[in-house]
């Protein structure tokens, strides 16, 4: 198998924690979305999310787990999410799964040459790239007085996975 083929078949699991749960995406070879969705969690959110993430890692055995870099300078993630990110990294390391952290700026630079864009713009691009999978899940543009649609979790996770693939491909 050539290097190019190995690259094409890399399985990327991306997890994007949110205030209600987390969005996830499994991308194979940078082109095929194998699984995607949002999971809501209640109770001790970090414990439940960690359990669910652990199960996903066990099910898919990904080549790499991609997370948002909650400790990055530009990150505005809550303390809970920062803690959760650390725990997921620790869980992945014990399972010998490679972890990649991408900051918001890195994700934006993967989609826009100048790195200036909005989450909705990224979501629209992804809905175009994966019309069968994500086309019908694109939420309307958020009004400033409305809280974020839960479906954005999916797009956050897919954006992380696609960005990682694009960076990795170089």
């Amino acid at each position: 198998m050539t290097n190019q083929n190995r690259r094409r078949k890399e399985l990327i699991l991306a997890i994007a924690p949110s205030s209600r749960g987390f969005g996830f995406a499994v991308l194979e070879g940078g082109k095929t979305l194998v699984d995607w969705g949002v999971k809501s969690v209640t109770g001790d959110k970090n414990v439940v999310t960690l359990k669910k993430a652990e199960r996903m890692v066990a099910d898919y055995n990904p080549s790499v787990l991609v997370l948002n870099d909650a400790a990055a300078r530009d990150s505005r993630r809550s303390r809970r999410v920062q803690e959760l990110t650390k725990k997921i990294i620790a869980m992945a390391s014990t399972g010998k799964v490679k972890v990649a952290l991408l900051s918001r700026n890195q994700v934006m630079r993967a989609f826009f040459a100048d790195g200036r864009g909005t989450k909705h713009a990224v979501a629209r691009l992804l809905a175009k790239r994966f019309p069968e999978e994500l086309g019908h899940r694109l939420p309307p543009k958020r009004k400033p007085w409305v809280s974020e649609d839960y479906r954005m979790g999916i797009f956050d996770a897919v954006a992380l996975a696609v960005s990682h693939f694009l960076y990795w491909r170089g």
């Binding site: 198998m1 078949k9 399985l11 194979e28 095929t32 979305l33 194998v34 099910d59 055995n61 999978e133």
Partner: protein, 118 residues
Amino acid sequence: MASSQLPNYLRAHRKRLGLSQDEVAYLLGAKSGTKTSRYERFVREPGFRSALACEAVFQRPIRELFAGLYGQIERDVAGRAKQLVLRSDRMKSGRQTARKRETLQRIAAMDFKRAQSQ
């Protein structure tokens, strides 16, 4: 490096069609979505009838729906074909033996061709 292909892609196809696990289970003739979940999580392999039903539901060939599993089976068959090729070397030469050897060599080369095409 993890395996290059997952055992099956049922979940991706189900989600693309907008079906629930219960609905797929009903279409497959199963009692509940638990069975679908087990197939999707690679905990259980469907039987022959269920696999054919999957092909009917998702309108995709079984070898595509169960790509990883198919690849594994193909490799096993190719390995056994190689063994038969070696055995056929000890057989009397003739037209039928030559034809058999040709067939077995083609089967033995299957997984190699597949790996190259991926």
